[in-house]
Amino acid sequence: MTRQIPIRLFGAFRQGRTDSTLTVEVAPNASVAELRKAMHEVLETDNARSLLKASAFATDSEVLDDADAVPEREISILPPVCGG
């Protein structure tokens, strides 16, 4: 049994894509580190896989650590930031 996790994409992760989410499959009690590994498997380009290494997963309220369990709430992948 697995969980389908839709991940919202931002910034450079949207490059060349028409959709703004990517769905990956993980085990029911997966950690964020396992989610990262699963996302790595489904990304299509070396650039995107490289960007993933420097990116953070987050909910609407907090940035997640790799040791955290994947929450039930909506998940986003956040590439390095540069506001202003």
Partner: protein, 145 residues
Amino acid sequence: MILVDITDSVLDPLIALGHCCADSHGAADLFIGRVRNLNEGRPVTAVSYDLHPVLCRNIFEKISQEALEQWGEHIHVFLAHRQGRLDVGEASVIAAVSSPHRAHSFEACRYLVEQMKVRAPIWKQEHYVDGDSEWIKGHVLRNPA
């Protein structure tokens, strides 16, 4: 007193200064970040700002609350960022702080801007004169240790 905003609309510095105002405040500091026409030698025509609106607002509120904790609950704080495509010269961010004396306004306003740069989920894609576009490399988001 804190006011933060994420908006598609033109940023108005008068709204920031209207919020950062009190009879006991002898100082108000205003920062406006604008799209510039050159980056690393490449002529820029516009910048598209992508952001995570809910998380960005939460981070803005956290940063603002930290400013109050550091410089006093009596200061007034304003932090707003625009999203979407902006032409050269348009304001992308406004930060403002008012306080009884100038030192706290200067320091707190700078704190808002510097923290926003490294903690807020905001990304920019520059558009160049030659028609090319590029996402700008930024700061890796990590939770504090």
